[in-house]
């Protein structure tokens, strides 16, 4: 199958937001049709035929132990081994996805590994679904239809309303960036641009570093934990302000979140070197003023000021 023509880096912003907002669980098929290692390849062949599928995960005690593709069934038929146990002939090195990974990971996996399907595991390693290329295409088309509708509405509304006027210049440097959930490809871009702007203003290197640390931690928090948000920066006249505002889900226990080492990040996020529970404490430590306002169902608003 030719590669899925979706880039997790260079696509249009709307598509990027979709593939990072949608999770693997939004696209996967569930429940999964499986077989046990003790069943024969013939059993697996019939299961494929009866259900119109081309791959069957092999499961033992709720755990994924292998997978049998239609190609393997044909090989077994060819070599007279169709009566053998699935456990003997299955592929053991299975590449799987996690259900809370963004869909962008799934498209990358399809293009990288060239398999027709990937089993989906939950946080505890249990098999919860399976995803093939057509599942992804269907989920994306549904989401893109909704998105195009929304854009069309916005365009017609904008045509009616008169355009807003730009802010009068007041000698302050302002920057604002949209941050997308789970978009690790672009994570840190807002902070990098902000750091460049501070350098351009001739702000002292130590102050710039403090501002960069606060900005990066708050930006990464939005990438890892929020449903998307905005990073805004204002600098000038001896004061740097960073405002991180997101659309939710909000923090149930702010005091815990401010404690070093407390983290709600998942395993795969930690494997990237994030989610150590140091983000908010780091941001507070480098700031002269720090405030956080958050509650479940509402977003999180963090304001930081650094004086120079």
């Amino acid at each position: 199958m030719p590669p899925l023509p979706i880039s997790p880096e260079t696509g249009p912003q709307v598509v990027l937001e979709l593939i990072y907002r949608l999770k693997v669980r939004d696209a996967m098929s569930s429940p999964v049709i499986t077989a046990t290692p003790a069943e024969s390849m013939r059993d697996v062949q019939y299961r494929m035929r009866d259900n119109g599928i081309t791959g069957v995960p092999i499961v033992e005690g709720g755990r994924l132990v292998g997978i049998v593709s239609m190609g393997l069934v044909i090989e077994a038929l060819d070599s007279g081994r169709i009566g053998r146990k699935a456990g003997e002939l299955m592929t053991r090195a299975v590449i799987s996805l996690e259900d809370d990974m963004p869909l962008a990971f799934a498209t990358t996996y399809f293009n990288r590994y060239k398999y027709g399907r990937f089993p989906v595991l939950d946080r505890d390693g249990g098999l919860v679904g399976i995803v093939c290329a057509s599942d992804i295409i269907r989920a994306l088309l549904v989401a893109m239809n909704k998105e195009v509708e929304r854009l069309e509405e916005r365009l017609s509304a904008a045509a009616v309303a008169s355009g807003g006027l730009p802010r009068p210049p007041d000698g302050l440097s302002r920057l604002s960036f949209q941050v997308t959930h789970f978009d690790f490809e672009n994570a840190g871009k807002a902070s990098a641009e902000f750091k460049k702007a501070l350098k351009g203003l001739g702000v002292d290197a130590g102050v710039t570093r403090r501002a960069a640390v606060a900005a990066y931690e708050l930006e990464l928090n939005q990438v890892i934990h929020s449903e998307g948000g905005t990073m805004s920066f204002v600098a000038g006249a001896g004061r740097i302000e960073i405002v991180a505002e997101d659309r939710g889900p909000g923090i149930p226990d702010v005091a815990s979140a401010m404690t070093e080492g407390f983290s709600t990040a998942t395993e795969w996020i930690r494997s990237l070197g994030f989610g150590a529970g140091m983000g908010l404490p780091n941001a507070k430590r480098v700031s002269d003023e720090f405030s956080i306002d958050s509650a479940p169902g509402r977003g999180t608003l963090v304001r930081v000021a650094i004086l120079y």
Binding site: G188, S191, V213, A276, G279
Partner: protein, 111 residues
């Protein structure tokens, strides 16, 4: 000691050209990017197994000169591109972070 001198002294593979061959004074070993943000010093080297572009972003934000990726971890193309854009050196070692850190510490303290 410059990055290029360090690479030959420690037998490191230089992954991309076009980095700024800066003078290095110190190093920091960690796989937690927040820890690197908080504690790594500018003009230092990061010793890590985090071979992805977010490590480059962190290095650039705190002013690190180079990243040494340990255990011969595969370096993705987008990490190399990011490193080239930020002029941060990416060096690869077959050894563990423990061994690389030991060699780095010795090399930087030699008169």
């Amino acid at each position: 000691m410059r990055i290029s001198e360090l690479a030959s002294a420690l037998g490191l593979e230089t992954i991309q050209d076009g980095y700024e061959d800066r003078e290095i004074s110190t190093g920091y070993s960690s796989d937690l990017l927040s820890d690197v943000m908080a504690n790594a010093k500018a003009d230092g080297v990061l010793v890590t197994v985090q071979a992805h572009k977010n490590a480059v972003a962190v290095a650039s934000l705190v002013g690190l000169a180079a990243i040494i990726v340990c255990n011969s971890r595969p370096i993705p193309d987008d990490m190399i591109e990011a490193a080239r854009a930020e002029r941060v050196a990416v060096l690869l070692s077959p050894e563990s972070a423990f061994e690389v850190s030991g060699r780095l510490w010795t090399a930087l303290r030699r008169p």
